[in-house]
Amino acid sequence: MKLPDLTELALRNLRESVLRNSLTTIGISVGVASLVAMLSLGIGLQQLASRRLMKSGLFDTVVVTSRRDLRNFNREEERNGPAPGESRILDEPTRREIEHLPNVLEAYPDIRFITELRYEDKPHLTTVAALPPSARSNDAFETVQGQFFSSELAPEAILQKAFAEELLGKTPKAGVDETSVAELTAPLLGKELTMRYAQREAASTAPAQSGNEKSANDNSAAPADQSLAGAAYSVVSREQKLKIVGVADLDPESMRGPTRARVFLPLKLAESLHVMQPTDLREISRAASDQPVYSSVSVRVKSPGQIQTVEDAVKKMGFNAFSILDASKSIQQFFKVLDVFLGIFGSLALAVAFIGIVNTLVMAILERRREIGIMKAIGASDGDVKRLFFAEAGAMGILGGIVGVALGWAIGQVINLGTNIYLKSQSFPPEHFWSVPWWLVAFAVVFSFFVSLAAGLYPAGRAARLDPVQALRYE
């Protein structure tokens, strides 16, 4: 029999006992729905976790530190590479060198310091970090309420949400009592902050006028000179007024990177301030020039796929490099395992549906015994009868699969909605942890089809073997 005929006959037969076949199809749907629901939960959770990590802005970032820096991420590297003492200094020329590596978008120094900020005459001690202009397009800063810095040198600041709360005198109770960012932004926008900081100043030059003039003497020129600090630079206490332009909903605890601070300044502004950084104390013996030395440089890579190559290139240059790649790998692995488990649980319902199909088709054989006999008597081969039952099973499978996917999607939406209502009542922000990608839809329907065919195997075989004489004998 030809396929269109087969399909037509199968659908006709399914329509003949609508109730029973619908119930069986619903059974398949429920099975598929539970499978889809479980898998979309797994996928959704994975995406949620990925989004969280993405927020850290580190999927395309390599953090470069000097090997002289004590913070080593990998002990083995330390042994393999040059000794810390001989390794290179992370200064402006090196930064530019890194920036010219292939696949690198930009390399900017991580400027980060702890200082005092005054708001309405109240001092607040916090971490301040510099943001490169590219952060504007970064996922992490897309959610900024207010606006981004107007220029690279503008005396403006973006606050981290928790710090904004602190300024307004709202003390959050460890994540429970979250107020919306917009609510915090309104009273703060345009207000002024006064930042008190320690400026590093080349010793022999007047601080205000000629900052760019080269320091008269560095370590090599005058090794046995005066007191170490005095020879290199002095530290001057200064103030800088900053205008609050935005509040960002960022997680200050998220991994490493530019978002690990509570107040953000434009990068060029931060650089021009020559703020005394903690690492400067360590560099005291040699970093006497006003050519800045960076504790770390963040390297943005064109795409996450190129992280590894850039990381290797940087390591070859003699620096330490770290990216989140390794961490995310193990997370993905965890979710793969989770998906498998959820899939197995989801499949249990489909296994029940499988038995339902077998039952329905076996019943159909008993009921259509005579019909099968007639078909054989007028020339249907065993194969025709077998294929007809297969087609019926397959049609139920496809129908059940489609309805099941829709059902699973609906269940997901309802649970998503319900959970978000609950989250809202608990003052958590809503999350989207349910995702039904297209491949899952296709997979579910195809899977349902094949499961149904498998379920049709035994009934179809039995129908094909039916003896026509026996089948026609009984009324």
Partner: protein, 260 residues
């Protein structure tokens, strides 16, 4: 596909044997007892012949018919239809044989209740993988032949017994088989309708040159239509006589037959 186009033959051109059964046996085992439904039947039916298998209930006449139809396989002996030994055919080949060589009608009509008449009639052509257009055309033609063109889209349950049996005849003829096997075709019909059906069967026999084997327990019916009467009892052949009332009658040959 319909079988090879044959020129219609009349009953008088009978030299070729259509059915040849030799020492045909069909035994069943029912628990401890062995039932000899067919027990050593030897007979020959010439092509274009109209034979009646007569016997009481349980005589084995239907079993013989099923063996000829290729619905059942002999326990021993052979049944050869148009030079094909049915016992040696595979299940698949046997299905093909039933599809192309045999048309069957039954006492209980055996139309598929969920299908309209047209669909019932074209069903064998679906198995034969005939194109839809050709199928529609041939089904319509066959139903016209049995006078049911107006009932094409009715389901069997909406029709009288006679109409159902006519539809069954149309279905039996649709693949242009050489053999028409009828198992008590009038058993469920009143005598008037039965006559109508039997006239049609005779028409097919005479005009299309089909070999007809009919199982019946009504001797009068057999004598009226069959050229030969074959009597069975307890699975054995107990009589085989030609029916002079029919056999000697001049055939009402129509022009389409091209008969001299």
């Amino acid at each position: 596909m319909s079988t090879t186009a044959r020129p219609p033959r009349s009953a008088s051109v009978n030299s070729v044997s259509a059915i040849r059964a030799e020492q045909l046996c069909r035994h069943y085992r029912m628990g401890e007892t062995l039932i000899r439904a067919v027990d050593g039947v030897t007979l020959t039916v010439r092509a274009g012949e109209f034979v009646a298998l007569l016997g009481s209930s349980g005589s084995g006449k239907s079993s013989v018919l099923n063996l000829i139809a290729g619905l059942d396989r002999p326990t021993s002996g052979s049944v050869i239809v148009h030079d094909r030994d049915l016992a040696k055919l595979s299940r698949e080949e046997l299905a093909k044989y039933r599809l192309h060589t045999v048309g069957m009608v039954f006492q209980s009509f055996n139309l598929i209740a969920s299908m309209t008449l047209a669909e019932n009639v074209e069903l064998p052509m679906r198995f034969a993988e005939v194109d839809r257009e050709k199928r529609d055309y041939l089904a319509r033609e066959a139903l016209e032949r049995v006078g049911l063109q107006a009932r094409m889209n009715h389901r069997p349950s909406e029709l009288s017994g006679g109409e159902q049996q006519r539809a069954a005849l149309a279905r039996a003829l649709i693949n242009r088989p050489q053999l028409l096997l009828a198992d008590e075709p009038t058993g469920n019909l009143d005598s008037h309708t039965g006559t109508e059906i039997m006239n049609m069967v005779r028409e097919f026999n005479q005009q299309l040159g089909m070999t007809v084997a009919m199982v019946t327990h009504e001797r009068a019916l057999a004598e009226r239509y069959a050229q030969r009467l074959i009597f069975l009892a307890d699975g054995k052949l107990i009589g085989d006589e030609s029916n002079p009332a029919v056999a000697d009658k001049p055939e009402p040959v129509r022009a389409e037959g091209g008969q001299p």
